[in-house]
Symmetry: C2
Subunit: 235 residues, 2 copies
Amino acid sequence: MAAAAPPPPPSDVPEPRMAPPETAPIGHPVFTRIRLATPLDVPFIHKLIHQMAVFEKLIHLFSATESSLSSTLFLSPPFQSFTIFLLELSSYPIPPLLSPSPSFTPIEKTFNFDLPLNDPEKDAFSVHYGSDQVVIAGFVLFFPNYSTFLGKPGFYVEDLFVRECYRRKGFGKMLLSAVAKQAVKMGYGRVEWVVLDWNVNAIKFYEQMGAHVLPEWRICRLTGDSLQAYQNANV
Amino acid sequence: MAAAAPPPPPSDVPEPRMAPPETAPIGHPVFTRIRLATPLDVPFIHKLIHQMAVFEKLIHLFSATESSLSSTLFLSPPFQSFTIFLLELSSYPIPPLLSPSPSFTPIEKTFNFDLPLNDPEKDAFSVHYGSDQVVIAGFVLFFPNYSTFLGKPGFYVEDLFVRECYRRKGFGKMLLSAVAKQAVKMGYGRVEWVVLDWNVNAIKFYEQMGAHVLPEWRICRLTGDSLQAYQNANV
């Protein structure tokens, strides 16, 4: 067995284990956080849903108001009924929440982009934490569903939306992954959502995330006057 | 104007306004009731789901147990989460529930069939109310969903099932109508469910009930190992 080499002479100059500040980091850091929405976020949520209806060319079906959202959301603890994750975003580290929910630890991730993200609607979607300002970039709304074959709940994702200036950056994947991670944490069996059959880009994206599209099932919907007709029906 | 004819002489024989007892009612009366399921019904629910899996030739996907059902159902008040209506049936009037839920008044309806309904599994699906015995003929499992465009909840019907010997009698319609009626009562905006695109009889039945089938939407499902992969994902 060879004798151990003598230790190197001590030096006052530290090893360059980190890149010197003048060369790093190239680009534009973006700090993101996924947190539970609260009743205070309803004005943002309403604007996001409205943008989604415009984007989907379905504004004629949009009738939600801040009031209707407030009276139907946040009535149950997170994850037990309708639940919303918001995606927050800032060029600076996002300060911790003053009143974090015991049900969910926010998910934080730092991105580094070549170009700055230009947000023409920054003011309309700004949240202030003391002197810090972050913007709401998107949301996902989901709630428990149930598989009788599995004998256990899952999550159904009703909406996944990222504002236009923040698309194609991985934020949608981040939001959907957060729901999947929460489902696993709760021992749930499935995460499901729907997609339009002609939206091949979305289908490709979802398949890359591990989902498969069920080709044979169709949604049946009873709504409007056809639903109201059951009010006095002798069933 | 001719004089009025004199009245007929009084008679001790009453007019035959009702059919005499010996000729009415023709057929076999069936008394039915839709009520909320309780934890005591789990063994019936498990057997019904198992029969549904066999009927749909999907028994390989069936892994629910009485234990998994018990630990995931009945955790919230009726209609706030997963909710089950059971259809009870008897040849005699069904006695009232001893502990009716304040959330739901059972729906009762009497049918009259030409032939008796022969139930080869009567014993396995019998509920005893004192000395009275009724059978469980089917169930519907549903839970709230949410439309962000409407800004209000709806109901999603996960399962609608009537045991084979009770099919094509209007019982499926009765169960689905009860969910629709409850949705209207609660001010909800929609009732939705899914159907296989090749099941033309079911589609026709649902359309007759006022539903329309959405042709373009497809279900995406993330489950099994693909879902578990998100446990430690850096989302």
